[in-house]
Symmetry: C2
Subunit: 452 residues, 2 copies
């Protein structure tokens, strides 16, 4: 019984998959917040590299060539293993066949590197010398810092101050790769200075860090901003996960009935799901796709589909998305990568069109599943990935009741070795659930201007 499936280097996909080209109902366009006009790629050039700006709005090309330089760097850690989770199946006593794609083996410990390498490469190619970004717990910041080093760029990362102080390991990793890491809010930008002047002990937020990183990019010559999720070009780069998994499932002689990813902004979920969803769209396959979001930040299960800003301060274009309101303050769960108020525009459209499903998972259920997985498979999963595992466990338990041998595939987006304090709290019984009701969401959305 083979447990792990790999691809040889010449089997690794040479193109990413752009689902926008195959969608019957395309995502609605991002809008300029002032003119309310649909954005063109050129409108994004001041902030992002030109190539990702074009990819962001590309509704035509289903397949985008992965540059040779990026493919070469992918071979440093790809293909990642597709693993038959015999240990988990046995622990659950389920007839289901459970597979996971193990993105935790990337040198930075998560799937984030797949897009960081692409974004850094395009910047380098276009003559950019410096790149900026924001990071919370630090998964994306680590990936971007390493990618910058690979392509000879200087990286400046604004890390949410409370994470910078509480989770020093990821800060150290970024610095080991040579990045400049600044706790946000900082005195180095107007946005940061304003907040610090008003509130010297402000702990920071992803929204503030985004504002600082964009401001630095806009005010520095040859400098661009990069983002780790939400946007369509990021998900495009992450489709390498699903494209590999598709070939690896062939080697395993199976095809998934259910594909599951945890959900923050959408890039790891879309990354594993879209290449399989393509067969639903084009060939009428009936695979189910489940996004597993935290119950404390339930934009897919309790949010509203409307135009909203991507950041707290309202600097970004208006995006058509399921949102809790860009003023929503998620509870401080350990799955920091899932604490985001909105969903990317592609996933939002797909959910609206019932081409996928969403479930919410409480923090305690996510760690129950994570611990079960750690004991059964040996790998300690990231708190974010625990949400995908929990959804997979639910489906596997349904199979146990019904006796069905369904094939379940989920994405293990990262490992939890830098998040052991979360496991400590779980084991000591001090972890909490956080409930968000429809009423709380509605109250929050009421406070927002209707933009469109």
């Amino acid at each position: 019984m083979q447990k792990r499936f790999f691809l040889s280097e010449d089997e690794i996909p040479t193109q990413w998959y752009n689902i926008q080209a195959d969608m019957v109902n395309k995502p609605m366009p991002p809008l300029n917040p002032v003119t309310k006009q649909p954005l063109k790629p050129e409108d994004l050039f001041p902030i992002f590299s030109q190539e990702v700006s074009r990819q962001e709005l590309d509704m035509e090309h289903a397949w985008i060539d992965i540059p040779q330089e990026v493919r070469e760097m992918y071979t440093y850690y790809r293909s990642t293993p597709l693993v038959r989770a015999y240990g988990l199946e046995k622990a659950l006593g389920t007839p289901a066949h459970i597979y996971f794609k193990n993105e935790s083996v990337s040198p930075v410990g998560s799937h984030k590197l797949n897009s960081a390498l692409a974004q850094a490469y395009y910047c380098k190619k276009e003559g950019v010398t410096n790149i900026t970004t924001e990071t919370g717990a630090g998964q994306w910041g680590c990936a971007l810092s390493y990618a910058a080093k690979v392509f000879g760029l200087e990286a400046a990362v604004y890390q949410v101050k409370i994470s910078y102080n509480q989770k020093p390991y990821r800060r150290s990793i970024m610095q080991t790769y040579g990045a400049q890491v600044t706790p946000s809010p900082s005195m180095s930008t107007k946005a940061g200075r304003k907040i610090l002047t008003d509130e010297p002990n402000n702990p920071g937020s992803l929204g503030t860090a985004i504002s600082e990183a964009i401001e630095l990019a806009m005010s520095t010559p040859n400098c661009k901003y990069t983002l780790g999720s939400v946007l369509s070009h990021v998900t495009l780069h992450q489709t390498i996960i699903g494209l590999e998994a598709e070939k690896q499932m062939q080697k395993a002689g199976e095809y998934p009935d259910i594909v599951i990813g945890c959900f923050g902004g959408g890039s790891n979920f879309g990354g594993i799901a879209f290449p399989f969803m393509r067969h639903n769209i084009l060939e009428g396959k009936k695979t189910r796709f489940i996004a597993a979001e935290p119950a404390s930040c339930p934009k897919l299960t309790k949010g509203v589909f409307q135009y909203d800003f991507g950041d707290v301060a309202g600097y970004t274009p208006l995006l058509p998305m399921y949102t809790l309101g860009h003023n929503f303050m998620p509870a401080n769960i350990h799955a920091g990568g899932l604490r985001y108020h909105g969903a990317g525009v592609i996933v939002s459209q797909l959910l609206k069109d019932n081409l996928m499903e969403a479930v919410d998972v409480q923090q305690l259920e996510s760690f129950d599943a994570g611990l079960l997985f750690a004991k059964a498979e040996g790998i300690i999963p990231a708190p974010e990935s625990c949400h995908a595992i929990a959804a997979a466990v639910r489906e596997a338990n349904k199979c146990k009741e019904s006796g069905e041998e369904k094939v379940i595939l989920f994405n293990l987006s990262g490992h939890g070795l830098i998040d052991m304090s979360a496991y400590d709290q779980y084991l000591s019984g001090s972890l909490q659930n956080f409930i968000v009701t429809d009423e709380m969401v509605n109250d929050n959305l009421q406070k927002l201007e209707k933009f469109v």
Copy 2:
């Protein structure tokens, strides 16, 4: 240019290699410290499982079957990748071909699991229900905790108290796998109580933790003790590393001129080196083998070959080894896994017979090399592994001078993600070197009784 080489599951070796059978000069026997008589396997049965007791002293069988149950667990993470370090070669500008075996992809982050699974399996098979061990920084403790969970055993780990308090992440990992972790010295054993009574704030040591773990095993029904390095059966299990690497080097179309491992007790070094050394012994190949030890704990380069105890308290058999004296207190370097006063009996004999070499590496040089590697290959190496990298860098730089295209293979025994505080200190300039002179070693050895 292929970068990573894997084996299919049916190519993974089915036997470990016992170099003792092929050695012309066998290791001298361990002695009973009271009678001074050579040990027989039965003498070890009260402490260890019977099977590893036999393996420990087996001078006859060059190949030992890996039990099917252990092979099945190996497929959870093996084969580990053999990687051509193109990034490091480029950074050094060397004509050398550098390869590393990446044991850091094991679920517990190091090679330690290779022996933990075997030891736990044999205990289970022999009707043992509980196993004990000691751990310093926690690499071995994590591996043993997971292996115990796999085979349904209860694990009790004594962790050196200062590490228990200062490096809580590995403690959390052990607890996540379900192990009972006790800071040592503890009140749960006579040995611990005595120390705590004399000195309530004693920070603990590996020697004390060993004493506590052995005492618990001896005083508990169906309980055995396990050890993570030094002993010959541990190195035997680790030869899976070199046996895989041999097949993977064939796929790469090369054979190593130099094989390098970092050196604590000898298990990861022997694990990668012995399968290649076999060809030196049997076929006259001329591969060089280099053990890279910390300059602060230089048993191979400055120690003396003599009978000595394996632990500080003097509870173990007398072992013929290169030693700094079992009373040697290594400086508190970050490579905790290399802080051991002696070398295993096999390596000691091989070094005495000039079948291998040893070099010492200062702490700062090790982190210089580790940082270079992290930036070039993306993987942050464990402080222990940094010593192997430093030795590889030295050899690669010699090739640069001479223009030789030598093939260098080293073992990346683990990742450093749980050791980022060490990198922090390195980056902030607060890391130190520690010098041990011949005089200091001689003074120390003078204080010891001559046992044989």
